[in-house]
């Protein structure tokens, strides 16, 4: 068919191949005004196909009575019942507070350490490549391994960290880091930061390599100091990368109970109880999927608000 048309269209002469050449057709397609939507189509379809139903299902659960170990009455619409219960649930408020502490401290430490490491590595010092690999390696560990190894190292009986601290005189005797409410959260944050700061290092490092050197040369001539350069050139140039990294990391910290599940399970006495852990417990040991769904929706909304505010404030999408 296309062959016949190609033959008929005399001036300008087009070869048969040209007419059906997918590359040419794509090229022409790329000049249409719908091109960007076409580019988004495959990923959007994939995400929708897999995630749409589970997400809608989760929202629906939060308005439904769904206690798997109490089949009678399951599936009934209960309106805002779960949300009302949440308002009066002291464990929810405690978890919310703990989540805020957990996320804020983790993200600040991870970002600052990650940035400092990336800036230092970017100076391309001799031996820097080896140091880079050493610094980035914690991020490669699965949570299972990182969590359990730190649990062993911090153990109050056989933990090497205690032994070192006692030997150098910082501690009088072995300390049970996760049994003391004053140190449990801080220690968990330390382990989390140790595991994840390379996320920022790697991203910022890759971003730094994209900043034209001329900018710094010009700043040098203008007499701008190191901190001024950081504030005026580096951070603005990395704006979107940092914003993306912070948002993604915050989502990860809020939603994933992995590490705390291994280290403390929310203890001692709920002092490290966070929302993700609370939702997990509600779903898989109390089997109250309705309430767990409502908790998830609250986490979702909080994250949504955070991301929206952060995108507005950091001006990610300004050209």
């Amino acid at each position: 068919m296309s062959r016949g048309r190609a033959m008929a269209a005399l001036p300008p002469p087009r070869s048969t191949w040209d007419a059906i050449n997918p590359l040419r057709m794509l090229g022409e397609l790329s000049e249409t005004r719908y091109w960007m939507y076409l580019l988004l189509l495959p990923s959007a379809l994939l995400i929708t196909a897999i995630v749409l139903f589970p997400t809608v299902y989760g929202f629906q659960l939060s308005f439904t009575e769904m206690r798997l170990n109490r089949p009678a009455g399951n599936g009934a619409f209960v309106g805002l019942k779960h949300y009302q219960r949440m308002l009066a649930d002291p464990i929810f408020w405690l978890s919310l507070r703990n989540t805020a502490v957990w996320v804020t401290f983790s993200i600040v430490i991870e970002f600052v350490v990650g940035l400092v490491a990336a800036l230092a590595l970017n100076r391309n010092l001799p031996g820097g490549k080896i140091l880079a690999v050493l610094i980035l390696v914690p991020y490669f560990l699965p949570n299972v391994v990182a969590g359990n190894m730190w649990a062993l190292m911090l153990d109050s009986r056989v933990g090497v960290v205690n032994d070192i601290l006692v030997n150098i005189g910082l501690l009088d005797s072995y300390k049970a880091w996760f049994a003391d409410p004053n140190t449990a959260m801080a220690t968990a944050i330390f382990v989390e930061a140790w595991h994840s700061f390379p996320f920022f290092t790697l991203l910022i490092m890759a971003g730094l390599k994209g900043i034209p050197a001329d900018l710094y040369k010009a700043a040098d001539i203008d007499g701008a100091g190191a901190f001024a350069q950081l504030r005026l050139i580096t951070l603005p140039m990395l704006r979107t990368i940092i914003a993306a990294a912070v948002i993604l990391r915050v989502i990860g910290l809020v939603n994933s109970p992995d590490l705390l599940l291994i280290l403390t399970q929310g203890g001692p006495g709920r002092s490290t109880q966070v929302l993700s852990l609370y939702a997990f417990q509600n779903a898989y040991s109390d089997f109250n999927f309705g309430y767990a769904g409502a908790l998830s929706v609250v986490m979702f909304v909080l994250l949504m608000l955070f991301a929206w505010a952060y995108i507005r404030l950091s001006k990610v999408n300004q050209d």
Binding site: L68, S156, A176, P181, G269, D286, F287
Partner: protein, 417 residues
């Protein structure tokens, strides 16, 4: 072994060749029924025990092919829940006593009453063994093996101090206090206040005379008794200082390693950890075992079972063959030899390898007076998410026994509402 090799390999070879030529699956020719078996065996010894039972079963039942599927214990309920809700259940599932009520309410289990009634080995089992898997006259599984609650004590330290293994809570507390020696870094009791410690709190409360639930299903917890029980139990740390200060985060691994390394004089656990303790300390010389001491009101020592249950109506006959097989003395003893886990069958439990070992005497005694855990839908979640944090809060000084008792009672009311 050789005979089995011959017959089976010939069958297999013939079947394989035919299957290859006709492009038919091998099972079709051998008329094998495939079933899968979900379990939570993880450690090396457990894996070896399961393999031993599988091998014996394979020889006895060439017509049934069992595919074991191991699932980590912490995520077991999540995985089985997804399978039940998603409609792809396994044929046979290993169900711990404490999970029975939740799974039954979820509709995961099939009624096995008639099959069990007609089973030729039913008489090998005490009726009590089925108590934690029976509801409203219907039985839903067969016990595969038993965990018997007991304690371990440092025999050498006890001998040195002229003490005998405790039989009551008072003796227990006295021994714990006497054997505590801060200068040596020794504590009398390794209290499990971290993950998994919840069940012992419930035991102590019941031993003080306050059952969790009454016969009619209403809340049996008496506030005053709960307070007394918590005061005594947590008091071992906060008043008597006879417990390591790390107790609030001490789970299984910490408690066991504390005992193994000579930090603690006594711990409570069940028979499942015997091999592990015996690998570090000399049985009968350095350590001994004791039945759970009697509380002021009653003696509470739990018998927990791992039941095998039919969870899918398809291939139920083959599933039943596999479940029954765990009741064979040969299988139970082969399993015991690899794992140290007690058989559930009375006949198997009388095997010389168990009766002849004095270390198992405490467990054998406990089989007589031991009782099942309180069981109702939501029990496991309540114990884990309410009772344990309440205990921890006393241990770390964030709550008084009164406040903790209120949390526990209110939590129970919410759980069974």
């Amino acid at each position: 072994m050789t005979a089995k090799f011959d017959r089976r390999s010939v069958l297999k070879l013939g079947g394989g060749m035919l299957a290859a030529s006709a492009l038919l699956p091998h099972q079709a020719f051998a008329q094998q029924t495939a079933i899968n078996y979900w379990h939570t065996f993880t450690s090396q010894s457990e894996a070896a025990g399961l393999q031993a039972v599988l091998d014996l079963f394979k020889a006895a039942h060439p017509d049934v092919a069992v595919t074991p599927e191991n699932i980590p214990n912490p995520e077991f309920m999540a995985k089985i829940t997804a399978a039940v809700v998603g409609g792809s259940r396994p044929n046979v599932t290993m169900v711990a006593s404490e999970r029975f009520e939740d799974l039954l309410a979820m509709g995961a289990l099939s009624d096995m009453t008639d099959r069990i009634a007609g089973w030729e080995r039913r008489a090998d089992f005490d009726d009590k063994r089925f108590a934690s898997i029976t509801k409203d006259g219907k039985t839903y599984g067969v016990p595969g093996f038993t965990f018997v609650d007991w304690g371990y004590y440092r025999k050498d330290w006890f001998d040195e101090a002229g003490l005998a293994a405790p039989t009551t809570y008072d003796e227990f507390r006295d021994a714990a206090i006497k054997l505590t020696d801060a200068s040596k870094g020794r504590f009398g009791f390794g209290l499990r206040g971290g993950p998994g410690g919840q069940n012992f709190v419930v035991n102590v409360i019941e031993a003080f005379g306050s059952p969790v639930k009454k016969e009619d299903g209403s809340i049996g917890l008496d506030r005053d008794i709960v307070i007394k029980a918590l005061d005594w139990y947590a008091g071992l740390l906060v008043k008597d200082k006879a417990v390591p200060p790390s107790a609030a985060n001490d789970g299984f691994q910490q408690v066991i390693s504390g005992f193994q390394t000579g930090q603690t004089a006594m711990i409570w656990h069940h028979t499942g950890s015997y091999q592990d303790i015996a690998s570090k300390l000399k049985p009968g010389v350095e350590f001994g075992t004791f039945a759970m001491p009697a509380g002021p009101a009653t003696r509470v020592a739990r018998l927990a079972y791992a039941y095998n249950c039919i969870t899918n109506d398809e291939n139920a006959d083959a599933a039943w063959e596999w479940i029954k097989f765990w009741g064979e003395p040969d299988a139970a003893v082969a399993f015991l030899e690899k794992t140290g886990y007690m058989p559930a069958s009375t006949v198997a439990a009388q095997d010389e390898r168990i009766v002849g070992n004095p270390m198992y005497k405490a467990a054998a005694d406990t089989l007589g007076f031991g009782i099942p855990q309180p069981s109702f839908p939501g029990a496991a979640g309540w114990a884990q998410n309410t009772v344990l944090p309440a205990l921890q809060q006393i241990l770390i000084g964030q709550a008084t026994p009164d406040q903790a008792a209120d949390q526990i009672i209110e939590g129970l009311a919410a759980a069974i509402a």
